[in-house]
Symmetry: C2
Subunit: 539 residues, 2 copies
Amino acid sequence: MRWSKALTVGLAALALGALAVAQGLTPEQMEEGKKIYFQQCAGCHGVLRKGATGKNLEPDKLKAAGKNVDYLKAIITNGFGGMPAWGKLGILTPEQIDLMAKFLLSPVPEPPPWTFEDIKNNWVVYVPVSKRPTQPETTRNWQNYFGVILRDMGQVAIVDGDTKELVGIVPTGYATHILRSSKDGRYFYVIGRDGKAEIIDLWTKKPTLVAEAKVCLDARSIDTSKYEGYEGKYAVVGCYWPSNFVILDGQTLEPLKMVSTQGYVKSTGEFLRENRVASIVSSHFSPEWILNIKEGGQTWLVDYANIDLKGKPINVRMIDTERFLHDGGWAMDKRYFLVAANAAKKIVVIDAKTGEFVASIPVGDKPHPGRGANWVHPKYGPVWATGHIKDNKIAVIGTDPKGHPEYAWKVVKMIETPYPGNLFIKTHEKSPWLIVDFTVAPTPEANATLCAWNKEDLEKDPICWEVPGAKKLKARMVHIEFNKDGSEFWVSAWGNKDTPTFIAVYDSVTLKEKTRITGDWVRTPTGKFNVWNTANDIY
Amino acid sequence: MRWSKALTVGLAALALGALAVAQGLTPEQMEEGKKIYFQQCAGCHGVLRKGATGKNLEPDKLKAAGKNVDYLKAIITNGFGGMPAWGKLGILTPEQIDLMAKFLLSPVPEPPPWTFEDIKNNWVVYVPVSKRPTQPETTRNWQNYFGVILRDMGQVAIVDGDTKELVGIVPTGYATHILRSSKDGRYFYVIGRDGKAEIIDLWTKKPTLVAEAKVCLDARSIDTSKYEGYEGKYAVVGCYWPSNFVILDGQTLEPLKMVSTQGYVKSTGEFLRENRVASIVSSHFSPEWILNIKEGGQTWLVDYANIDLKGKPINVRMIDTERFLHDGGWAMDKRYFLVAANAAKKIVVIDAKTGEFVASIPVGDKPHPGRGANWVHPKYGPVWATGHIKDNKIAVIGTDPKGHPEYAWKVVKMIETPYPGNLFIKTHEKSPWLIVDFTVAPTPEANATLCAWNKEDLEKDPICWEVPGAKKLKARMVHIEFNKDGSEFWVSAWGNKDTPTFIAVYDSVTLKEKTRITGDWVRTPTGKFNVWNTANDIY
């Protein structure tokens, strides 16, 4: 039988080789294509290329639509709609673009598995709980620390929000996506696009990496148990690949349970192997996490009360909502959760108290709220707002069904912005302004610009300014974060990693630039997370 | 590009051809192998051959263990442990056995998908709800009907339990697995191993097939919503392939929702594409179904209260229990559900009231309770019993944690039986006897034999008798079912479909044969379901 197996394997390899050879790619090039695809493309188009925020890129469909190597090269170079101009931005070289165009016309490689065993084998506790301080050892005002993602450095910088001094730099995964705070603010929980989760302890003199686990191969979200009595007990990571969520010990990241999210679109449609967990928030009404399942168009409410109790169930409440769920945040009352279904051009509202899907609100093209922005408008009452990647619009939505039922879950105002390409908007009760970036707009001028609208009078023209020095550094201004008392906000200048940039600090009332955080370490700063605001869901 | 695709396809076909050719099978033979495997083997060994109740049969593992064509032919012909002797029983021909041995050493074919669209396209309402009678049109005592599965005929016979007359024959799927009754007993819900679900209306003069849906490609279980206020509103089918459960309208079988069960073994192990839904019961404590997920070793409690309410969640409580869950039934109080984890040689106990995993009780080899048998023992109080396929034992388990805590969830008595190979045991409060079959025992004598133990004195020798005429018909006695008032029990003589056999009817107190149900239609009778007992979970 041996010869026949060898023959079989040989022929299969030959056939497989032919598939790759068809596009003129060597096995090494296929490997490079896989790597670039995973880092730059999979987030929007999916590992299996079935599309989500981005279009379907399955080779048969591309070919059927007549999309050849030249067409794909043009798109990858120049961008299209919400897609970045990877070539023009200097992120991919012409050779890499040529490779990627051919890679996209080659068969989709099977993504590798990642098992519970793999997680356990890639889990390290650097500082056991018993060796950690029982009260803050630092004399700094750690509750006003900012965790700053240095995206392409694989680092998180901890900056003192009072003094603006760098407190420490912690090595993290290659492309940290977000930080979340424990309920008491002591720990930062880090998740990278490489699926690596970390805990940073802020109570030590210098911030300390205390635990780490590679939970999946691709991830975007992490949160902890925040309900009374469960604070910091568990963490949960929402994985992109494999599509699942993993529940971990909140202090050590020891993996405890994993639950697959592979399933059917809205309980009735296509079966999805790639059914990714996008944003996660921790409910204030019950021991539950709210997980947004992107491709399936479902929101899952996962009860974590029983995780440690042998024989008790994990309770999952599955709600059909809209495709493709992405990011979102709480309304002001922290009862209603608003999440973007970006391909559907909608904002979905979930009631964390009843576990119900409340509304689906049409907004503009590719809403991208981050966590959104909350304030009380004199006429509409409590509102929440989101910007859009593809539209030059900000949608302001009423969020007070009791006090202002006529405005609840409606777009009460669609603000025109000077540019499209917004990634984040933010405000604070101490600031009269709604601050907006244009990070993925098509021009360097727009990328360097910030605008502020008067929250009380949305009809007034905004105040917009180009941030001095940003354009010269080829930096895009991104992500607004307020400090603990709301007196100032910080915005990152996101350049490339060869050149240090800065974080601009503004007075939250006068909009005057107060100072700049600079230094050799300030490379590719993106998201910033103030301990107090992150721990208390203030945005 | 065209030539390269053609080359690729050609080479791939060549390679694939080589794989099959390696075992000397033509494409037609591969198709026949797939069909036989699906019908005879997949139930225990899995469509993907990863094993469950039966052993792993993946070709690489078989080859690594040195299991060649001759070895496999011998096993398929003569049986082994709990595996039937497919050759000696005359179910597979020597040519088919040769084919199957080679098929098992060939690569596992990818099982086909079955989508929500497929279900909708294969769903028929023969009699709309508005055209169905609003009260019984028959003058017969329909609550004492028996639904008799004529297994290899693809039929269900409805027999009048009072008169023993055949009331009607309804065509069903090719291998009907079980019937369940609606809460009021009016409808029989049928599920076949081909995934076909049917509703039979017993209120018409002749029983009528009123609706049908092909829900999956392989299935074993069906039940309806039985909790107060939800009676007959929904049905649920537990699928083997694809591994999922599908919720249907209880009156029309219109598909409403499907939920994948693909997932991780006990929340921490291997990922399973084949993670099949075995037995299902409908809770008496809440609007929930209890689904037993075989390979994953989980029990899922699925809340059906919200199915029709847009925006409300489907609530699934997932409990880690034991592998590989199979069949089971309620304890006498209908609060505790006992289910066999047959590969683990255990009975798992679930509390339907609290949704908790209560106990895991070691029993004998391959417990197969069907729904089990309940009675009150003078010393142990309420008990439930299961037989075993591989052991000659009956395990009697205490089920009364309040009244008899010292015996609860323990094997209070292990009864020795004269043979192994039991499939079903049953009793009734009107009968002093626990009745036992030996359907899959290795000898025709055992197959034709029934035994009865005195429920009050388990130390006493049983009364055993060979059923006259069974052996001559090459029939195996199988499945005991009581009539509505418990005065008699019926046992099927399961032969092959070319020869009519009989159903023996016994007095439940004297054990005397009262009559035999015969007729040309009595071919391959197996499971029998009395309307009253099935609707009311009496066993």
